[in-house]
């Protein structure tokens, strides 16, 4: 069934019917996370005439940044939750449904209730999906027993409750997938805060991090912090047989090439790809991620569709909330310019990731990126990590900055 714009307004959204002499340009944003919400708000501000529609199934967004502190019992879960009320007040039309198909050739998409919507351009910020069974044995059912807690929501509280229930003398295992995955420093922040929790509450318990990588984000900083703070944490890299090859939710076993672990709690961070809608609509390629031009974020596979955030294939720029918001602003400006008949200039993009190594102590990684063909590359001489020998006052300042950033990025996205 096809509805025109007016039908959509009157029937689907319940807004008063307003006769228009000419149709307006409509941009549909798919996905209301940091990327999508920031893109929708930026676009409405830059070009108020555009009919901006944001499609997001959930009425409440649960943020992933800062969720590691919730898991470790250091932060209230409510502080991660945000609504779309401000966006609606700003004139963005919210539709709380799932998009089931996108027809790029006809500039239209279909919602779960079979409503079809036309768009002038679309911005996809769909986030990630978990590749179930890519790690043999790790299915949706297994996630109820061995939580991933990698996409917000109920899994965060499940992992928090399971961690709280680990006995003194118990064993916790965190499994880290091979890159690329959402938020490259987050497994190591999580390991730090879980180790902190165990050290404080269960001094005889142990954490083993089984890693499918040999090198990782802020590696020297994390390793130094763990050495000084957490004798209860053991990290096994890929070359030390850290790669998990199979899990068994029934027996609770986790296998690597040489060992079988039976921990009291397994947190499996699973292999990932772009969300289902990106794959189904042909915006993702065989890597499972979405190739785009990093100037306008327009898909290389589906013209007229822009993709931002964790779902993209971007080279050096990591998959983070900071990056998604930065891309969202650049993309929204580019889309407004394109609809205005102009050609956008290449943006310069930044990223900063903060990671807590303990309560009130943080480290950071920063990068400046410029486009090089279809990917983003690091700007030479810029970016990098916090100093390895930084004084405690710097780590404390970075922890304050981490909190201030969370406040700023959530305010920019959700008001």
């Amino acid at each position: 069934m096809t509805f025109g714009r007016r039908t959509l307004i009157a029937a689907t959204l319940g807004a008063p019917f307003v006769a228009q002499a000419q149709p307006k340009a409509r941009v549909i944003v798919v996905g209301g996370g940091f990327g999508g919400a920031t893109a929708a708000r930026t676009l409405k501000r830059v070009a108020p005439d555009i009919d901006v529609v944001l499609i997001e199934p959930n009425p409440v967004f649960t943020a992933c940044p800062a969720s590691n502190a919730v898991i470790a019992g250091l932060r209230d879960h409510e502080t991660l939750r945000f609504t779309y009320k401000t966006l609606e007040a700003e004139g963005i039309r919210l539709i709380h449904q799932r998009v089931i198909a996108i027809d790029a050739a006809h500039s239209s998409l279909t919602l779960a209730d079979n409503t079809r919507l036309d768009f002038t351009r679309a911005i996809l910020a769909p986030g990630i999906a978990i590749r179930w069974n890519a790690l043999p044995g790790y299915t949706e059912a297994a996630a109820a027993v061995m939580p991933h807690a990698w996409r917000g929501g109920a899994q965060i509280m499940l992992l928090r409750e399971r961690l709280a229930a680990v006995p003194d003398g118990g064993l916790v295992v965190i499994s880290v997938p091979a890159t690329p995955y959402r938020c490259p420093s987050a497994p190591y922040e999580r390991a730090s805060l879980v180790a902190h929790h165990l050290k404080l509450r269960k001094p005889r318990a142990k954490l083993i991090v089984l890693d499918s990588n040999d090198s990782f984000s802020m590696q020297r900083l994390f390793l130094a912090a763990w050495k000084s703070l957490y004798p209860n944490l053991e990290h096994l890299a890929l070359s030390a047989s850290g790669k998990v090859t199979e899990v068994n939710a029934g027996t609770g076993e986790i296998r690597t090439d040489f060992e079988t672990y039976t921990p009291d709690l397994a947190n499996i961070i699973p292999p990932q790809r772009a969300a289902d809608i990106a794959v189904q609509s042909g915006v993702a390629d065989r890597t499972g991620w979405c190739p785009i031009t990093p100037v306008t974020f327009e898909s290389l596979l589906c013209p007229g569709i822009h993709v931002i955030g964790d779902a993209t294939l971007l080279g050096a720029m990591p998959k983070s909330a900071f990056a998604a918001a930065a891309q969202a602003k650049a993309c929204a400006h580019a889309v407004a310019l394109i609809l205005n008949g102009q050609t956008p200039e290449p943006p310069h993009l930044l990223n900063t990731c903060y990671a807590l190594i303990a309560p009130h102590l943080a480290i950071s990684s920063a990068g400046v990126y410029r486009h090089h063909g279809t990917i983003l590359v690091d700007t030479e001489g810029a970016g990098g990590n916090s100093a390895l020998d930084a004084p405690r006052s710097t780590r404390e300042a970075e922890a304050r900055h981490a909190e201030a950033w969370f406040h700023a990025v959530t305010t920019e996205a959700f008001g």
């Binding site: 000419q22 149709p23 307006k24 340009a25 409509r26 501000r45 830059v46 070009a47 108020p48 005439d49 555009i50 006809h106 500039s107 036309d118 002038t120 900071f322 918001a325 930065a326 602003k329 650049a330 400006h333 407004a336 310019l337 609809l339 205005n340 008949g341 102009q342 956008p344 200039e345 290449p346 943006p347 310069h348 993009l349 930044l350 900063t352 950071s364 920063a366 400046v368 700007t379 001489g381 810029a382 970016g383 990098g384 916090s386 710097t394 300042a397 970075e398 304050r400 900055h401 909190e403 201030a404 950033w405 406040h407 700023a408 990025v409 305010t411 920019e412």
Partner: protein
């Protein structure tokens, strides 16, 4: 198909000129919030912002990440970014 018609419609933009490269990212931390954890930058004097950015870039102003970020820009680019934020409300 309406697409052709829609594409010919000019969309009015709120600002005359697009922001200089890199300027949009600043608000990711320096947001206009009631309780800013980072120093506000919108509407500050351009010369002041420029001097601070150049000092971060030169490593002469104490920093956590601003030194690492400003090194990714030329002095001219930082001047443009300072002028952009000075003009914001």
């Amino acid at each position: 198909m309406k697409r052709g018609v829609l594409l010919t419609l000019a969309v009015a933009l709120a600002a005359a000129a697009p922001p200089p490269p890199g300027a949009l990212v600043c608000s990711g931390c320096h947001a206009a919030t009631a309780d800013p954890g980072f120093p506000p930058i919108a509407g500050r004097a351009a010369a002041e912002l420029e001097a601070e950015l150049l000092a971060y870039r030169a490593g002469t102003r104490p920093a956590t990440v601003m030194d690492r970020l400003t090194r990714g820009f030329s002095p001219g680019e930082l001047t443009s970014i300072a002028a952009y934020w000075a003009a914001q409300k």
